[in-house]
Symmetry: C2
Subunit: 380 residues, 2 copies
C-alpha cells in the first residue's frame, strides 16, 4: 500500500498546484448508473468519451471503469485513452478522487479525502458511496505515491486554488451541516491550510443556484491565473442567480489573495436556464435513495465548469447563443491554450460538468524504490 503519512503537506513542504500548472495526465470515471444517467448512460458515455479525447490532445487520460463496463468502454473510447478497472458508485472523480500535491523538488503525493456523496444521509445524492470513497486511495496506490488521509469530508470540486497560497470555497458547501458538522469553520480552515498549504481562504456564501453539490465553487467561481478569477453571472435580476453572483462579486472585490493582491474578477454570463425535458426525465430509472431527475427541474449550467489541461481548456457548451461568447472569453483568458467546447448537456443532466468528471495529476518526479535490487525507478 502507498505509505500513509501522519504529517501534513504544509509541514512537509507540499502544496496543491493550480490547475494551469503542467500535468502528467488526467483521470476520469466511466458513467453507467441508469438511475442517474438517462438511456442506460449511453448519451453520457459519448459525452465523456469526447471530453477524454479533448483532454488527451494535451495530456494522457486514464478512464477508470467498473468490471462489467470494461469491454464496452474500450469500444467507445478512442484507442489512445488508457482504461483501467476501478469500481465507483458514480463518475465524479473531481469530488471522490485524490487531490495531488507537489513540493519544490517536484515530488508528488496524494490526499485521500473522505467522501459522503455530497451530504451522506442528510441530502446526499445516492446510497451507498463506499466505492467512491475508495477511488482516492486506489488512484494514489496505482500511482505509487505517498498518501495523506485527513479525517475530513471534502470534495475536490468544492475548492479552487491559485497555487500560490489562496483558496476559494463556498460556505454553502464546506460549512454545510451534512459535511463535517463536528468541525468549526476555524477547524475546517485549518485542514485546508495544512493539507493544501494555504495562507488565505476566500469564502463566498453560495454557489450556482440549484447546484445539487451544495454550491461547489468549481461550477461558480475559479482562479484562471494568479490574481484573476472567473465568476458565473447573469444580467437577469429576476433570476435567483443574480443575487448570489452579485454577493460573490462584492466579496471578491474586497478580497486580497495570499500575496496581498486585489483580484481581477472576470464575469462570464451563464447560458439561459437549462431545464430537464420530459423525455430526459423519462430516460432515468427511479431508485430509492438516488436524487430523482424530474421534468422541468433546472440544472446548474455554467461555463465555469471547464478543465484546464496541458495546452487545452475543455469547456461545456449548451446549444445556447451565449456559447460562442463564452468561448471567445475563455480564449482571451487562456491565449496560449486551445479552447475546445464539448456539448455538456448530457453531463449536466447527471448533476455536474466537465470539471466535475476530471481530476488532474500534476507533472512531477515520482520515485518508487525497487526493493532488493538496488534500483530506483524515477519518472520525471
Amino acid at each position: 500500500m502507498s505509505k500513509t503519512l501522519t504529517t501534513t503537506p504544509r509541514e512537509d513542504g507540499y502544496r496543491m498546484p493550480a490547475e494551469w500548472e503542467p500535468h502528467v495526465g488526467a483521470w476520469m470515471l466511466w458513467p453507467e448508473r441508469s438511475d442517474n444517467w438517462r438511456n442506460g448512460a449511453l448519451p453520457a458515455q459519448r459525452a465523456f468519451a469526447k471530453v477524454a479525447e479533448a483532454i488527451n490532445r494535451g495530456e494522457p487520460v486514464t478512464v477508470c471503469v467498473s468490471p462489467g463496463q470494461y469491454v464496452l468502454a474500450r469500444e467507445k473510447l478512442a484507442s489512445e485513452i488508457r482504461l483501467v478497472e476501478m469500481s465507483s458508485n458514480d463518475s465524479w472523480i473531481r469530488d471522490c478522487g485524490p487531490t495531488f500535491v507537489v513540493n519544490d523538488a517536484g515530488e508528488v503525493r496524494g490526499i485521500d479525502w473522505q467522501f459522503n456523496a455530497w451530504g451522506g444521509l442528510l441530502g446526499g445524492l445516492y446510497f451507498p458511496w463506499d466505492q467512491d470513497d475508495l477511488v482516492g486511495e486506489k488512484v494514489i496506490e496505482m500511482e505509487r505515491v505517498e498518501r495523506y488521509a485527513p479525517d475530513i469530508i471534502l470534495e475536490g470540486g468544492s475548492i479552487d486554488v491559485d497555487g500560490e497560497g489562496t483558496l476559494i470555497a463556498t460556505e454553502e458547501c464546506l460549512l454545510n451541516s451534512n459535511r463535517n458538522p463536528e468541525k468549526t469553520k476555524e477547524e475546517i480552515e485549518r485542514y485546508l491550510k495544512d493539507y493544501l498549504n494555504l495562507e488565505t481562504i476566500i469564502w463566498l456564501e453560495k454557489g450556482v443556484y440549484g447546484d445539487e453539490t451544495d454550491g461547489h465553487t468549481d461550477n461558480f467561481c475559479r482562479f484562471v491565473a494568479p490574481g484573476k478569477v472567473i465568476l458565473t453571472w447573469t444580467e437577469d435580476r429576476d433570476d435567483p442567480q443574480y443575487d448570489i453572483s452579485e454577493a460573490a462579486f462584492e466579496r471578491l472585490q474586497e478580497a486580497r489573495d495570499a500575496k496581498g493582491r486585489a483580484l481581477e474578477v472576470h464575469r462570464i454570463r451563464q447560458p439561459d436556464p437549462v431545464l430537464i425535458t420530459a423525455e430526459e426525465a423519462a430516460g432515468v430509472d427511479r431508485f430509492p435513495g438516488t436524487l430523482p431527475r424530474r421534468k422541468g427541474d433546472r440544472l446548474a449550467a455554467s461555463y465555469v465548469n471547464f478543465y484546464i489541461g496541458n495546452g487545452v481548456v475543455v469547456m461545456p457548451s449548451f446549444d445556447d447563443p451565449q456559447d460562442v461568447v463564452a468561448q471567445d472569453e475563455i480564449r482571451q483568458i487562456f491565449p496560449d491554450r486551445e479552447v475546445i467546447a464539448v456539448p455538456g448537456r448530457e453531463i449536466l443532466l447527471g448533476g455536474g460538468n466537465i470539471h466535475c468528471i476530471t481530476q488532474q495529476e500534476p507533472l512531477g518526479r515520482r520515485s518508487a524504490q525497487i526493493r532488493g535490487s538496488g534500483v530506483t525507478q524515477l519518472a520525471s
Copy 2:
C-alpha cells in the same frame, strides 16, 4: 489503450528474458472463488499473502483483486504490497497474465496471449474464463507498454525459457487438442519462435502426473541457468511419475540448446504423494463446470514450481521430509539468492503452486510519451 502491434517480437528485436534476469516487479491475483479454494479461500489467501511478502523482499509486488475483495485483501496483505483492482475468474496470473519481452535497449512490451482456462469446453477447469482472458490486456495497459496480441491460446506456465533462444514445453499441453487444434506442431513452434524470439524448442512428452493443466512444464522441468535445467523426479518405480520423468530425462540428455550446449540436468526428488483429505474436499463448494476437489485425489506436488525473484527464490514446502533436502538443493543452484520456503499445500489444493500464481515483469526502460506537453516519461 496500449498500442497493439501487428509485427512480432522477433521482427522487432524483442525476446522473453529468463526469469532470473532482473525484475521491475511481480504480479499476482487474489484468490477468492469458493468452488476452487476451500473455506471461502481464507487459507489460500493467507498463503498468497506469504508468497507476496517473500517476493516483496526483492521486488515490488502488485496484487490484483476484484472489487468485492478489495478492502478485505488490503487487511490481509502486508502494507508494502501494492493492491490494484482487477477482476479475474481465478488467480493464476502465470497462465492468464501477459508475458513481457524486452529488447537490447531495455524497452519492454507485453504479449497478451489468448486464454481458455486450460482447455476451454474440452477439459477446461471452469467456465467462464472471460475475466481471466482480459488480465493480460489490463496489466499491459496499466503498465503503459505496447502490446502483441497473437491469435494463439497459450499459458505462461506451459513454457520456460533460458533467455538465450531456448524454450522447454510439453507436448501434453501445447499440442493438446483442447488448446489450438487448428494449428499444427510446426505452426505452434512458429508462434513460439516469433513471439519469444527463439531458435530451439525442447519438447518433453508429459508433465507432472495428474497435473490438471495438462502437464505445464513450470511444475516439471525448468531452466535454472543457461545450459542447466531442474527436473522433478521420483525413485519409486511404481509411481506413475517415474516413467514420465525418466522419459523427459532421456530427451533432455539428447537435447542441445540454442547455443549448441548439452544440458546439465538437475533431478530434484518430489515429495511423497499429496492427497486431498476429506476435510479439505468438504471445504470446497461444488459448482457445475468447475473441476471438483475430491477426497483422495492426488495433487501435482512439485518443488520445481518456484518463483525466481530479485535476490530471492520462493519455493513451496509440503510438510514433507524431502522439503529440507529440496531447499538445500535450490540454495546450491541459486547461491546468490535467499531461498524462502512457503507452505504450498493450500495453493496446491487450488491446482498449482507459487510459480503459477506469480508473473514477473522484467526491469527495463519504459517510455510513455506525454502528448502535447513535449515531455517524455522514462523509468529505468
